[in-house]
């Protein structure tokens, strides 16, 4: 699971990176928008996988940190006129701090109770965002968001997002392939044994949760600015479920899996919404198919196909 990028892997990453950077040259607003959104949601899914794939716990409330990052940044920019850097940092910090507190309590429990507690905390965040109308505008949505002039242009914002996201993904890659990352997988694999090789498992899971919250906050900050608004739905449990499905679809046992899952699901949703309003049914059916036939997601499917044609590989 955690192996250094092979030469082909690195080449693939480089190609994707270059293609990505060239997007604005195609002069298509639609394409720039799509890639921007995919980048943001990919980071969101990758951050969740630190908890699920690497740490082995299920979080049903990951949207909370995404929403907090987005709202804090949006409010500071717009209502209080903060400059971009302090505002964004504050947003990410708020998300990370919340994650740290929530994780402290959640890591006392495991399995279902852990999941339910994460759900409860995130619904608490939702309820606060919903009710604190004076600050957040409640369910009318906090909009418009004052985006600083330097990134107010579509292309400029695209490159800004791309730089932030690529750096974030790189950092996440390092973390998941660090001593911490590998030890975390051991905790996932056998929490009892991990304890008995001297690993402080609760601390590990807490740290993983905080990291996940941090990057969810980054994604949220970008999201709020991109959409020029933040809405309470972003914190509702259905949003957490959606990102969970993205992560699962891509494959939780690989690093890039969630990224692929996020991109695929995002595009599917866009396309489906153009023809029918029954995206939930499509999503539900996809979910059923994955769960019943391919629980290790698209990456798992890719591996199976690869193995059939000779030679295993690394993600």
């Amino acid at each position: 699971m955690t192996s250094p990028l092979s030469k082909t892997g690195m080449a693939a990453c480089l190609i994707v990176l270059i293609l990505c950077a060239l997007t604005p040259l195609l002069q298509s607003d639609y394409l720039i928008d799509v890639v921007t959104e995919i980048l943001i949601v990919a980071l969101f899914a990758l951050s969740l996988n630190i908890i699920i794939g690497y740490s082995g716990n299920v979080s049903f409330g990951h949207a909370a940190y995404f929403a907090i990052g987005g709202y804090v940044n949006a409010i500071l920019l717009t209502t209080y006129g903060w400059p971009l850097l302090p505002s964004a940092v504050a947003g990410v910090f708020a998300a990370t701090l919340t994650a740290a507190v929530v994780a402290y309590f959640c890591t006392r429990l495991t399995d279902i109770y852990f999941a339910m507690l994460t759900l409860a905390f995130s619904m608490l965040v939702w309820a606060i965002l919903f009710k604190w109308r004076s600050l957040t505008n409640g369910d009318d949505g906090f909009t418009p968001v004052h985006v600083p002039a330097v990134i107010d242009d579509r292309t400029a914002f695209f490159y800004f997002t791309m730089i932030v996201i690529v750096i974030s993904i790189a950092v996440l890659w390092v973390i998941t392939h660090s001593a911490f990352g590998r030890s975390l997988v051991a905790v996932r694999e056998n929490v009892g044994r991990a304890g008995f090789v001297g690993i402080h498992t609760r601390r590990m899971r807490w740290q993983a949760f905080v990291i996940a919250g941090f990057f969810a906050g980054v994604a949220g900050v970008l999201f709020g600015m991109y959409h020029r608004g933040m809405y309470v739905e972003s914190a509702f449990w259905t949003q957490s479920a959606q990102v969970l499905i993205m992560t699962l679809l891509g494959g939780i046992y690989s690093f890039f899996g969630p990224l692929i899952g996020a991109a695929v699901l995002f595009m599917l949703e866009r396309l489906t919404n153009e023809y029918t309003e029954y995206w939930p049914t499509v999503l539900g059916s996809i979910l059923l198919i994955i769960l019943l036939f391919q629980p290790d997601g698209l990456v798992g499917l890719g591996k199976r196909i690869k193995n059939k044609f000779g030679g295993g590989g690394s993600p």
Partner: protein, 309 residues
């Protein structure tokens, strides 16, 4: 002193000075709690035996509300026929889902099970839109329970009084089922050791199916009962399922009595909380959950083993 309270919370002041108002809030708490209990009991039952947390319980509730609307309002049958129809309809749906889908996932990890039930939420949610459209319907109160009853201290809506009574009745019925019938004993045994039970020649899959049917029928029935005041509309399942989770976890997963107490607590916290601090309406429930889980991580009447592993 009272003026201080009135400034801080007008609602609290009224509660303290007006016994009728306080009593009404108490009855509101109980009636809402009992309605939620009926639904949550189904969820708790399904978890207790099948060890599955059924996210779809919310859409089952919603279907129950829609079905009673169709049978009672559109077809003109008596309200109670509609409510029973809701229970039956959900029983049938549950049986189909359990046979085709759930069977596959009993041995799977919890994440997979949760997501399977969520897939059902997505599909059935759209199905409801297809069948019933997207407008909000209204369901009248049944004629026999229209209006209010004179309780001496105050008048109170008869329908809600009925809820206060039917809740405990269902608790007793479920308790009787669990403790005094052969089915109940087999269900308990299946929870503990399904292989042994199967070795004794008992049809364990049938027990599982029956539990799922009963639990879902309760959701449907609860939805029907809720219909007059929670008008059937798409999305009504989203908040309800979280309410159910709060109740079941506060009470302790797998404990029927815990669910009952949890539901009552929820009703009390929600109603009195909303009166004292109207702005915190949605927040109180989650605070209740958090406070309980911090003191008793497995709920008030839960046991660590009940979490399933």
């Amino acid at each position: 002193m009272l003026d201080l309270i009135r400034e801080f919370s007008p609602g609290l002041a009224i509660l303290l000075t007006n016994p009728q108002f306080a009593f009404i809030q108490l009855l509101n708490s109980i009636s809402q709690g009992m309605n939620l209990f009926i639904i949550a009991a189904g969820l708790s039952l399904i978890f207790g035996v099948l060890k599955v947390i059924n996210f779809a319980h919310g859409v089952f509730y919603m279907f129950g509300a829609y079905v009673v609307h169709t049978v009672f309002m559109d077809w003109g049958a008596p309200f109670w026929v509609g409510a029973i129809a809701s229970a039956l309809a959900l029983g049938v749906i549950a049986a189909i889902i359990e046979r085709t889908l759930f069977r596959q996932i009993y041995e799977a990890e919890h994440l997979m099970q949760l997501l399977l039930t969520f897939a059902i939420v997505l599909i059935m949610g759209d199905l409801a839109k297809v069948i019933w459209g997207t407008e909000q319907y209204s369901v009248s109160y049944p004629a026999s329970l229209k209006g209010a009853t004179d309780l001496g201290i105050t008048f109170y809506p008869s329908y809600r009084l009925m809820l206060c009574v039917i809740g405990p009745l269902i608790l007793i019925a479920l308790y009787w089922f669990a403790e005094r019938t052969r089915w109940g004993r087999m269900t308990k045994a299946a929870t503990q050791d399904r292989e042994m039970l199967a070795a004794l020649g008992i049809n364990v899959p049938l027990i599982y199916t029956s539990v799922f049917i009963l639990g879902s029928a309760l959701a449907g029935f609860g939805g029907a009962l809720a219909a007059p005041f929670s008008s059937p509309v798409p999305g009504m399942d989203a908040t309800l399922i979280v309410e159910c989770f709060v109740i079941v976890i506060v009470g302790g997963l797998g404990s029927l009595w815990g669910t009952f107490v949890g539901a009552l607590l929820y009703g009390l916290v929600f109603n009195f909380g909303s009166v004292i601090y109207p702005n915190g309406q949605d927040v109180f429930a989650y605070l209740l959950l958090l406070v309980v889980l911090l003191i008793r991580p497995w709920g008030l009447y839960g046991k660590p083993e009940a979490g399933g592993h």
